[in-house]
C-alpha cells in the first residue's frame, strides 16, 4: 500500500485532467469564496503573528484582574481568572489551526494510500481495510479520545492525531470509491494492457481522479476538526497551559451569568472559521464540477405542483367534425407540451397534436421513441412531470373540459373513468405493498367498497385477467411474481373501476413474445366485453394491425397521418408512415422508401 513518491503527483503531459488553471479563476469569481479565503488568510496571519500582535500572555492569570471589561491594556477585556481575551483569541487560533492540520495530515497519510491500494488491488487488503474502517466507525470518536486522554494525559496534539486516525475511514471510503469507479474505465484497462506498471498507472490515471474529492473533503475535515477540538477543550481535556477557543468557551460557560459577553469572541472565531472552510469546500466543489449538486438541479419550478392543461385559444366553433360528436369519448385538439431548458428556452415535444377516440374504438398512437406519443397520452391523464407546460385548444373527455380541472377533480376521473396500463410491469407496482393492497385501495376510494367487497372484486378481476392462483398473487409482494403476471395485475388494476377510456402505453414491449400475444388478446377481450375506448401507444405495427380500428402516426411531436387501420396499411399517405411500415413489416413496401432520409429521427428531446 504505497503511493509512488515521485514529485508532481498530479498529471503527466497528455492527461485528460480537468484544467487546473481554470479552477482557481472560477473560485475567485465567487464572491463568497473570496470572502471565505480572505477570512481564513486573516486568521492564519493573526495566529502566526500572535506574539507580535499582543504583548499580553494568553495564559498568565491574575485573579485581581478577573472579568475586566474592554479597555486599557486589555482591548477585549479579561476572562474569569484575569487572562487577556484578545491574547487568548490569537493564540487559540494557533492551537485550533495546528490541531486541524494534524487531523488532516494524519487522516490523509492513512486514508489516501489505503483507499488507493484497496480500490486498485481489491482482494484481501480491501477486505481487511474495509473491516477495520467499519470497526473504527462503530464508536463515537469522543469516547475513544477519552480513553486515550485517560491513559496518556491531556494533550491536544495527541488527541488530534488520534482523531485523524479515527476519521481516516471517511477518507479511505471516499478514495476507494473513486478509485474503484475509475479502475473499471477502458483507458485504465488499456494502460494496463499496454504494459504500464502499477505505480505509473496510479500516478498518471488514478491520482488525478482522486485529487478533486480529496480537496473538497479536506475543507470539510478542517471544520469538523476545529469543532471536535473545541468540544474536548470545553470539557477541560485540552493541553494544560495552552490558550484555545474551546478553553475560552469553558471559562465563558463558568461565568455565563456574570459575563455572558465572554461567549461572543470564541463563538465567533469558531463559527466563522468553520463556515469559511465549508464555503471554500462548496465553492471548490462547484469550480471542480464534481457531483453532489445533482439533487439541487431539481429547482423549485419543477417541485411546484404541475399546472393543468391551459387553454391555447378558443376552440374554433364549427371547425370540428360534428358528424358523430355524440359518440366521441375523448377529443384533443392542438395539444402542445413543452419543457423549459436551463437556458430559459423551451423544448417542445408535442406540437399541435389532435386526436379523438369514440366509444368502443381502439386508437393506435404510433411513432418512434421520442415522437411524443407517450407525452400525448400522459397529458390526457394529467400525469406529465411537474415541469411540463401544456396547452390545448380543446381537451374533452365525455363532454367535460379537462383543461384547468383541479387536481381533486382530475383524481375523480383518473382510475375511475380513465384506466392506465403502463409499459414496464415490474417497475410499476409499489415494491413495499402487497399486490392485493394496491388493487383494493383505488376500489375502496372510488367505489366506496368495504374491505371485503373490494377484496372479492379484486380476486374476481385477477381471475378474469388470467391469473391462475388469485389468492396467492393477491397476497404476494411484487418481487415475488413474474413480469407477465405483474402486467396482468396492472391490467386488472386499470379495469378495476370499469373505466370508459383505457390508455395503454406500450403494454407489451417489456414482455416475452409468448406473453405479448396473451396480453394483447386479453386487452381485446376486455375492450369488447366492456365497450371501452382505448388509446394504444405503440411502435409496433404488428400490434396495430392486430388490434386497432384507427391509427394516428406521430413524428417529432406532430400527428402526420390519421386513418382507419385497414386504409393506412393499404395506402399510406405520408412518407414517414411508409418508412415506418417498410421498416417494421418485412414483406411489404419497396426498399425505395428507406432511401428517403427522414429528418430528426431521434425525436425532439
Amino acid at each position: 500500500m504505497s503511493v509512488p513518491n515521485e514529485p508532481n503527483p498530479a498529471h503527466g503531459p497528455s492527461e485528460p485532467v480537468a484544467p487546473r488553471a481554470g479552477v482557481l479563476r472560477r473560485l475567485l469569481r465567487d464572491p463568497l469564496a473570496v470572502a471565505a479565503l480572505a477570512y481564513v488568510a486573516i486568521v492564519v496571519v493573526a495566529s502566526v503573528l500572535a506574539p507580535l500582535l499582543t504583548s499580553q500572555s494568553p495564559t498568565a492569570s491574575k485573579i485581581a484582574d478577573a472579568l475586566l471589561p474592554m479597555g486599557d491594556g486589555h482591548p477585549l477585556g479579561t476572562d474569569g481568572v484575569g487572562r487577556d481575551v484578545l491574547a487568548q483569541l490569537l493564540h487559540g487560533g494557533r492551537t485550533s489551526l495546528t490541531g486541524a492540520l494534524i487531523v488532516v495530515a494524519v487522516s490523509l497519510a492513512v486514508g489516501l494510500p489505503a483507499g488507493i491500494a484497496a480500490g486498485y488491488y481489491r482482494g484481501w487488503f480491501d477486505g481487511v481495510a474495509g473491516w477495520l474502517s467499519n470497526l473504527v466507525m462503530a464508536l463515537p470518536a469522543i469516547i475513544v479520545l477519552l480513553v486515550v486522554l485517560a491513559q496518556w494525559g491531556r494533550s491536544t496534539g495527541l488527541a488530534m492525531a488520534v482523531f485523524g486516525l479515527l476519521i481516516a475511514p471517511g477518507i479511505f471510503r471516499l478514495i476507494r470509491a473513486s478509485v474503484v469507479a475509475v479502475r473499471e474505465e477502458l483507458y485504465v484497462d488499456a494502460a494496463r494492457v499496454s504494459g504500464l506498471g502499477d505505480a505509473r498507472i496510479m500516478r498518471r490515471h488514478i491520482l488525478p481522479v482522486v485529487v478533486a474529492p480529496t480537496v473538497i473533503q479536506v475543507s470539510q475535515l478542517l471544520g469538523i476538526a476545529i469543532v471536535l477540538q473545541a468540544g474536548l477543550e470545553f470539557l477541560g481535556l485540552g493541553s494544560e497551559n495552552q490558550a484555545s477557543w474551546g478553553g475560552m468557551l469553558n471559562d465563558a460557560f463558568a461565568n455565563i451569568y456574570s459575563a455572558p459577553r465572554l461567549l461572543l469572541w470564541p463563538s465567533l472565531a469558531i463559527v466563522l472559521t468553520v463556515t469559511a472552510f465549508s464555503l471554500i469546500g462548496n465553492a471548490l466543489r462547484d469550480a471542480l464540477g464534481v457531483g453532489g449538486t445533482a439533487v439541487h438541479v431539481r429547482s423549485r419550478a419543477e417541485a411546484a405542483p404541475s399546472g393543468p392543461v391551459v387553454a391555447a385559444s378558443p376552440s374554433p366553433a364549427g371547425e370540428a367534425d360534428e358528424s358523430d360528436e355524440a359518440d366521441v369519448l375523448l377529443a384533443v385538439e392542438d395539444l402542445h407540451v413543452a419543457y423549459p431548458r436551463p437556458d430559459g428556452s423551451q423544448a417542445v415535444v408535442v406540437k399541435g397534436a389532435s386526436l379523438s377516440v369514440r366509444k368502443g374504438e381502439i386508437l393506435g398512437l404510433v411513432g418512434e421513441s421520442g415522437s411524443g406519443k407517450s407525452q400525448t397520452a400522459f397529458s390526457v391523464l394529467g400525469l406529465l412531470p411537474p415541469l411540463a407546460r401544456t396547452s390545448a385548444a380543446r381537451m374533452e373527455f365525455g363532454g367535460r373540459d379537462l383543461r384547468g380541472l383541479s387536481p381533486a377533480a382530475m383524481n375523480r376521473l383518473r382510475g375511475k373513468r380513465i384506466g392506465y396500463i403502463p409499459q414496464e410491469p415490474m417497475s410499476n407496482l409499489d415494491p413495499s405493498f402487497r399486490v392485493g393492497n394496491q388493487l383494493v385501495e383505488p376500489m375502496r376510494h372510488h367505489l366506496g367498497l368495504s374491505r371485503n367487497a373490494a377484496r372479492t372484486r379484486a380476486l374476481d378481476l385477477l381471475e378474469r385477467v388470467g391469473v391462475a392462483d388469485p389468492e396467492r398473487v393477491f397476497a404476494s409482494y411484487p418481487h415475488q411474481i413474474s413480469g407477465g403476471m405483474a402486467q396482468r395485475v396492472l391490467i386488472a388494476g386499470a379495469m378495476s373501476c370499469d373505466p370508459e377510456l383505457l390508455i395503454a402505453d406500450e403494454p407489451t414491449t417489456a414482455l416475452d413474445v409468448t406473453v405479448q400475444a396473451e396480453v394483447l388478446d386479453l386487452i381485446r377481450e376486455l375492450q369488447a366485453e366492456r365497450g371501452m375506448g382505448v388509446i394504444l401507444v405503440t411502435h409496433d405495427f404488428g400490434v396495430v394491425a392486430d388490434l386497432c380500428d384507427t391509427v394516428a402516426v406521430m413524428q417529432t411531436g406532430r400527428i402526420v397521418e390519421t386513418a382507419p387501420a385497414a386504409r393506412l396499411f393499404a395506402e399510406p399517405q405520408h412518407e414517414y408512415t411508409r418508412m415506418l411500415l417498410a421498416s417494421t413489416l418485412d414483406d411489404c413496401e419497396p426498399r425505395a422508401a428507406r432511401s428517403h432520409p427522414v429528418q430528426n429521427l431521434g425525436g425532439t428531446r
Binding site: 462503530a138 464508536l139 463515537p140 475513544v144 477519552l146 480513553v147 486522554l149 485517560a150 491513559q151 496518556w152 494525559g153 470539510q220 469543532v227 473545541a230 468540544g231 470545553f234 470539557l235 477541560g236 481535556l237 468557551l249 455565563i256 451569568y257 455572558p260 461567549l263 463563538s267 469558531i270 463559527v271 468553520v274 463556515t275 439533487v295 431539481r298 429547482s299 423549485r300 417541485a303 411546484a304 391523464l381 400525469l383 381533486a408 383524481n411 376521473l413 383518473r414 382510475g415 392506465y420 403502463p422 414496464e424 417497475s427 410499476n428 409499489d430 415494491p431 413495499s432 405493498f433 394496491q438 385501495e441 383505488p442 376510494h445 372510488h446 418481487h479 415475488q480 396492472l490 388494476g493
Partner: protein
Amino acid sequence: MITFLLRRLAAGVVLVFVIATATFFLTGLTGSDPAQRIAGTQAGAAQVAAKRHELGLDRPLVERYADWLGHAVRGDLGTSWFTNQPVSRVVGEALPVSLSLVLAAILLTAAVSIVLGVAAAVRGGWADRVLQVVSVVAFAVPNFLVGMILALVFAVQLGLFPAIGYVKPSVDPAGWLASITLPALALAIGAIATVAAQTRGSMIDVLRQDYIRTLRSRGLPARSVLLKHALRNAAPASLTVLSLQFIALIGGAVVIEQVFGLTGIGERATSAASQGDVPLVLGVVVVTVVLVVIVNLLADVLLGWLNPKVRMS
C-alpha cells in the same frame, strides 16, 4: 430474516469483543504509572507498590485481561480506581440519563426530518431554505454552543425550562421532559440536518419512480400517494442514516451533558478520563459499543419490516 438477524447479532458480539479487547490493551500499555497517580505525588515507593498490588497492576497484562473479561461477560466491569464503586453500578446509574437524552434526540430527529425532508422534496421553497440553514448551523456551530445559547435564552432569560439538572421520570414525568428538552434539541440539530437531507433526496428519487405515476393514474388522493406509498419507500434509506446518527448522538451527548449538568455516562467518562480512572472509562466504552450493536440490530429489524425483499430472503 431470522438467519440474517442471527448473523448480525454474531457480528455485533464480535465487534464488542474486539473493541473491548483493543481498549483493554490500549489502556494497559505504557502511559504514566497509574499507581503513582492514585497514591499521590507525596507517596513513598512502598505506598505506591502497595497501591499497585491492591489494584492488581503488578500482575502480567494478559492475566489481568483474562480476569477482566471473565468478570465482564458476567456483567461485572470491575471497580473504579478512585471511588472504589463497582463500575457496573456507576454506569448503570448514569445510563438512564444518557438514554433519555439520546432517545429524545432520536425521536425529535425522526419527526422533524420527516416533515422537513418531505416538504423540501415536494414543495422546495421555504422548507428547502430551512433545511439549508439547519445544515449550515449544524456544521458550523458546535452542539454545546447551541446548548449554551438555548440554555441562556430559554432557561435563564425566559425561564421556560430548567438550565441544569436531571429529573427522574419516575419522580416527575413532566419535570423529566422539561429537563431533557433543551439538551435533546441541542443534540438533535446535527442529526436533523443529515437525516432530513437524506429524506429529501430519497423522497425525490422515489417520486420519480414509475409506480408513483401508476398510483396517481389510479386516482388515489395525493396525500395517500405521498405519505403512504412514497414515504414508505423512502424510509429505509432515512432509517439507515438515522441508525448511523445514533453513534454521533452518543458522542455529542458527552459534551451536551456537561453543559446541562446531567450526570450521564458522558459526564462520568469525562471525569474518569481527566482523573485517569481506567476501569470506569473501559466500562463506558463497553457499554457504548453494546448500545451501538443493539441499535443496529433494532434498525435491521425495522428495515426488514419496511422492506419486504429483506424480510422474505
